[in-house]
Symmetry: D2
Subunit: 353 residues, 4 copies
C-alpha cells in the first residue's frame, strides 16, 4: 500500500509536515551511476519556490536540499536516495486561531474525521510544502530521462481563471515570467489580474499543461498499469488538482471518430488527440497531459464553517497563501510526469529487456 | 507491479482476450461471509452486455459467469474469488484483413511496438471485453459496500456527442432506457442521433458521471493513496477514457475561491464542488466523478494507416463495433467506483481499526 | 498486499480449492515471445503428480492444464498468462466426518479463527493441491531462465525422516526413482522405510534441497529485496515448510569466520558457505537452498482434538494422504526457485538495464 | 517493488549508509494516536548499541534519534513517521586500504557486480548500521502491539558457536548480561569464550530465538501472505542471517506425524511444534522463530581475495568489528517480529474488520 509512496519499480516516499523540523523523500530503485548534485536539485526547486514573485505566497524557504544517502562521489549508488530540507520559515502562530476550526475546502475536516487528530499548523501533511519533495525527486527522474532517452519535459500555464494563457506558444518565454506563461503578450494581463485578485482577498483556479517529447514507444501496460492511468493518478495526487486529461481529454466527448482518430502515414501521425498514448501504451508521439487546479480555499474573506465541537464559526484564514496555487504547479506537474515516465521506462525494460 | 491487477488490499487481477477461450478475474482479499451468487453477478453483467439494443455492438455473449473458487455454500471464504466466462460469440475471421495493419486510434500499433507481437483478433487483451470482468468484480464490491456501509452507486450518461443528457435528473429513469440517460425527455433525441450515426458509419464520444452516496467520511489517504488519485487511475484505466474529473473538475479552473470552497454549516456543506473529497479523503458528501470517453476508432469509413512493414494502407474496420462506447460505460464506471471505495474502506480499517 | 499472489514484477496469483471445480493461476508480467505449450507444463506437473508411486497419495488427477490466455500462436504475448486445471478426482465425502472438527497440525482451526468459515473439503484453499499451480507457473519461469540465462535448477530429497539421502550425489539418478533421491544406493532403504511407514499409519518429515546453476551475479537487492529473503519467503510459503536455509544455513552457527568466509582466488571461490548470495545479491556461484518439511498431520491414527463447539473429540483422518509430503516437494521447491530467480532477473534489468 | 522497504499496510523504508551523514527510516501507515517519544525509541536502540560491552564493536554511536515527522503533540498522526540518526563516529579512513578490494564473505563483490559501484566505507548500505533503523521502527510496532493486543516479544541468544546458551530459560536474566543469554550460569563461559575469540582475531556464528506471546489467532493469510513466510523473509533480510525456522523447524525433518502434530484439548494445545502458525495463520499459541547468523567475515586474520582488477590479494580487515554479530542480533530479531506482527494485525482488520 502506498499512503505516502508512489511508483512501481521507482518508488518515491515522502515525509514531513509544513511546520515540522524538515521535509524529505526517499527514492528507491534509482539506477546506479547517475551523476546528480544538490545544486541541480536546487535549480529545480527554485522554479517552484515560495516567494518567487509577488504573485505567490511570501513564505521564504531556502529549500537548501541535502542528499543524505544514495549518492557516493557524485553518482547514485543504486540504493535508497534520500533528500532532506529543513523548514526554516514556518510561522506556526499564524495557525493558532484556526486550531479548533475546519477551514472549508481544506483537508482539516477530513483529516480529523479520519485520524481523530490533525497537525493544524499550515495543514501539516496536507500542505503544498510536500510538493517540494516531488520536485526534488522529479529532478533526478528528469535528468535520468534526458540522459537515457533524450526525453524533454515542459509544463506551462494554460489558463488562469478566465484568462486563456496559451493561445500562442512561445516555448522560450515560459521560463521568463513568474507564471510559466508561454504567451509573452499575455503576461501583462496576468500581472494586472493577479494584482487585483490579491487585493480582493479572493483566489482563482488554473489549468496547467505538460508535454513530454521523445518518449519511446512502448511504455505502459495494457490494462491496469496503463501509462495514462498512472499519469492520471500522479497528477490527481497533487494538492488542489480536480481534473486530468490526456490529449484531447474532455473534448473527445463531442468529437466524431473520424475526427478523433489520429491517422497514420509514412511520415507519422496526422494528429495527437490521443496525447501520445494508445491502449495505455506510449506511441512515440508527445505525451500531453492537462491538469485542473482549484482556487485555494485559504482566504482572508470570511466564510461559514464549523469548529471541532460542531459549532458554526466564521472562518478567516491568515498566514501567507497563494491566490492562485496553479501558478506554482508547473514544476510539480513536470516532476510527476518525469517520475511516471522513468518508472515506466524501467518497468518496460524489466519485462522486455 | 500491476500490469493486470489493481487495488491495494482488495486486489483484482483480470485475464483473457477477446477471442481466446475465456476471460476471468481473481479478487484477492475479499472479506469472508459475503453472500454472493452467480445470478447476482449476471444481473450486473446484463447491464453492460453486448447486444442490449440496436445502439451497441451486436456481439451477443451470454456472459454465463461461473464462480470457480472462493465461495463455499453461497458465501465468500476470504480466499481467492475467481470467476470465469467463456467466450462463445467471438468471430475471429472478421479480423483477418487487419492482421498486419495498425488501426489508427487503437492499441494495435503500441502493443506491437511494446511486445513485438499482438493478438490481432478483436484487439486481444486491449478489447473492451476485458471490462466484463471489471463489472463482475464490481458486483461483489457493490454488494459489500451496500451491506456494510449502505453505499449506493449510480452512474449515468451525462453527454453524448453534442447532446447534454442530464439537464434534468430523473434517477428512476436511468435504468429504463438503453443509454443510462437520466432525462426521459432526452431519450428520443438520443435514439434519432444514434440511428443517424450508425448509418453514417461514424462514431462519437460521451461523458459518463457516477455518484456514490453514503460514503463514510475518512476514506483515502493524505498524499499518494488519495481517494481521488485512485479514482482517477481507476477511471482512466477503462478503455477509451481520456479525462477524469472529481466534483467541479475543470470548472474549478475559472472558479473563484469564494465560489469553489464548500462552506460548512451545522446542517452540512453548502455545496459539493469538492466532489466529496478534500485532501484526498472522503468528507461524507457524495463522491462525484466524471469520465470522458473518446469515440471508437473502429469505423467502416476508410482512413489512412500503416501496416507492419511501415507501408501506408487504407484501413477499413469490419466486425461489430459500438458507435458510442460511452453508452455501455455506465456499469463499468460504477464498478470501478465500487472497487476503489471498497478497497479504501478496507484500508481505512487496517489503519484506523 | 499479496494474500494469494507473490513476486515483484513477475507476479503469480493462484486460485482454487482442493474440491472446487478447478484450480488456476495468472502469471502477470511474463515477457513476450517465449514459446510455451501446455505439453511442456504437463511434463513438469507429471513430476509432482499424485499417484506417481505407491509412496504418495492415491488421488489421481489428470492435471490436464489449459492455457486460457496470454499465449498466441504458441508464444507468450506479454499479457496475463492464465492457466486452469479442472479437479476431476476430488472425493468430498471423505471429509464429511471432519466437517465440524479441527484436525491438529492443520489449518482447519486457524482458518476458522480467521474467517469464521472454512471449506472443510480436503483443506479447501490450504490444500497442497494449490502447489500444482506453483509448478505450472514455475515451468514457465524455468524455461525463460534456461533460454535467457542458461540457468539450470535441480532439487533433490536430502533427508527423509532419519535417513540422510544425499550422502552421494548422482545427479542423473534423481529423476529415476520416486523419491527424487540422488543416491541410488539409498533407494531400496527408502522403499522399505516408506512401506513400513504407510502400514503404520504414521507420517514423517523431510528435507529437500535445491540448487540453481549459472545464476548471473548481481541479482537481488541490498536490504529488503534481498534474494535470500525472497527465497526464504517463497520456500516457507509452501505447505508444511518449517525451515529454510541458504548455503551453510544453521551450520553457520558453529562455524568460525575463517571457516565460513568463502575465500576468492583468480580461479573462483574456494567454497560456497554463502549459498551463492552475499549481502542479498547473487555472486555467480550456485544458489543453494534447503527446506524442512514437517510430517503430514492427516493420519488415520487417532488423536485428541476439538470440534467447532470446543468439545474434545477423537480425530481420525480418512482420505488419501501422503505419508511424507516432502517426497513430492522437490518439483515445488524447484518451481519457487525458478519464479524468484526470474522475478529478480527482471527486476535487475529494470534497475540496471 | 521493495528494494529498501518492507511490509504490506505498515511499510518501513530505510535509508542511509554506514559512513554517510545520517541514517533514517520512514514508517508509512502507522495508526494515529499512538503515544511515542524519542526517549522510548532510544531505550530500544541502546539495547543494540555499539560499544555496549567489550564483546561488541567499539564504534560508539550516540544513536540520538530524532522524530522528523508524523508525531504531533506526542502522538502519531497517521502520516509518514520519519526518524533520523546522524552518524557521528564513522571512521572512513579505516577503509582506505580495502577501497579496491573485495572482502570475502562480504557484499563488496556482489554490490560491485550489480551496480558497477560501491560505497566502500564500512560496507555502505550493506552495513549492519542499517539495522539500527529496524530497531527504531520496531520500537513503534512493539508499543502498538503491547497496547492493542498485549503482545510481548522477547528474543534471546540460543547458541553461540559451540555453546548452547538456553538449556535453562531464566527470562529475567536475559537483559542483565551483554549477550541476551537466558541462562545466567552460561554467562561466564560466554565471557571466557569471547575474550579468547577476540584475541584470536577470528569470529563465530550464533543462533537467536524470539518468541511472541498473546498473538491473536487469525493473523496471516492462506497462501502467499503467510505469517511464517513473511517472518522468514523478515529474518532472512537481516545482515548475516543464513537460516530461519518456525517452531520445530529442521527438527521436523526427523519427526513422526504423531510426534509433530500438536494435539488439542479443551485446555489448549499439547505442544508447539508448529511455532504458533498453522497454514500460514497464527493459532493463538506463542509464535516462535529461530534465526542462524553466520560469523562475520571482517577479520584481521589475512585471507585470499580479489581486487577490482581481478588480481589476487591478501585481505586484512581493520576497523572495529563484532567477533560475533549474533550477540547484537537479539533486538533486531525482536524488531522484525514486531513489525511483521503489527503489519499482519492491521491486514487482518482490513479484511475481517
Amino acid at each position: 500500500m502506498s499512503y505516502n509512496s508512489f511508483g512501481h519499480v521507482l518508488r518515491v516516499t515522502t515525509f514531513g509536515e509544513s511546520h515540522g523540523p524538515a521535509i524529505g523523500c526517499v527514492i528507491d530503485g534509482c539506477p546506479p551511476g547517475l551523476e546528480i548534485s544538490p545544486e541541480e536539485i536546487r535549480t529545480e526547486l527554485a522554479r517552484r519556490a515560495s516567494g518567487k514573485s509577488r504573485h505567490t505566497s511570501q513564505r521564504r524557504e531556502k529549500d537548501d536540499v541535502q542528499i543524505v544517502s544514495g549518492v557516493f562521489e557524485g553518482k547514485t549508488t543504486g540504493t535508497s536516495l534520500a533528500m532532506l530540507i529543513e523548514n526554516t520559515d514556518a510561522k506556526s502562530k499564524d495557525y493558532e486561531n484556526i486550531k479548533r476550526q475546519f477551514r472549508p475546502g481544506h483537508a482539516d475536516y477530513t483529516y480529523w474525521k479520519k485520524y481523530g487528530f490533525r497537525d493544524y499548523r499550515g495543514g501539516g501533511r496536507s500542505s503544498a510544502r510536500e510538493t517540494t519533495m516531488r520536485v526534488a525527486a522529479g529532478a533526478v527522474a528528469r535528468k535520468w530521462l534526458r540522459i537515457n532517452h533524450s526525453v524533454e519535459i515542459q509544463g506551462w500555464l494554460a489558463q488562469l481563471g478566465p484568462i486563456r494563457t496559451d493561445a500562442m506558444m512561445d516555448w522560450e518565454s515560459i521560463e521568463h515570467n513568474p507564471f510559466f506563461c508561454p504567451d509573452p503578450k499575455c503576461v501583462p494581463e496576468l500581472e494586472t489580474y493577479m494584482d487585483k485578485l490579491r487585493k480582493s482577498g479572493d483566489s482563482v483556479g488554473a489549468r496547467v499543461n505538460v508535454i513530454a517529447r521523445n518518449v519511446p514507444a512502448g511504455l505502459g501496460a495494457p490494462v491496469y498499469g496503463k501509462l495514462d492511468a498512472d499519469l492520471a493518478s500522479a497528477m490527481m495526487s497533487i494538492n488542489a488538482a480536480k481534473g486530468v486529461e490526456i490529449g484531447a481529454g474532455f473534448e473527445s466527448v463531442s468529437q466524431m471518430g473520424t475526427e478523433h482518430r489520429d491517422e497514420m502515414t509514412a511520415d507519422g501521425f496526422l494528429g495527437n488527440n490521443a496525447g501520445g498514448i494508445l491502449g495505455g501504451i506510449s506511441s512515440g508521439q508527445d505525451v500531453v497531459v492537462s491538469t485542473a487546479f482549484k482556487p485555494t480555499s485559504s482566504l482572508r474573506i470570511p466564510c461559514r464553517g464549523l469548529d471541532m465541537d460542531g459549532k458554526e464559526v466564521e472562518i478567516v484564514t491568515k498566514g501567507r497563501h497563494d491566490p492562485c496555487v496553479g501558478i506554482r504547479a508547473t514544476p510539480i506537474v513536470e516532476a510527476m510526469m518525469a517520475l511516471v515516465l522513468m518508472d515506466h521506462a524501467m518497468l518496460h525494460r524489466a519485462q522486455i529487456g
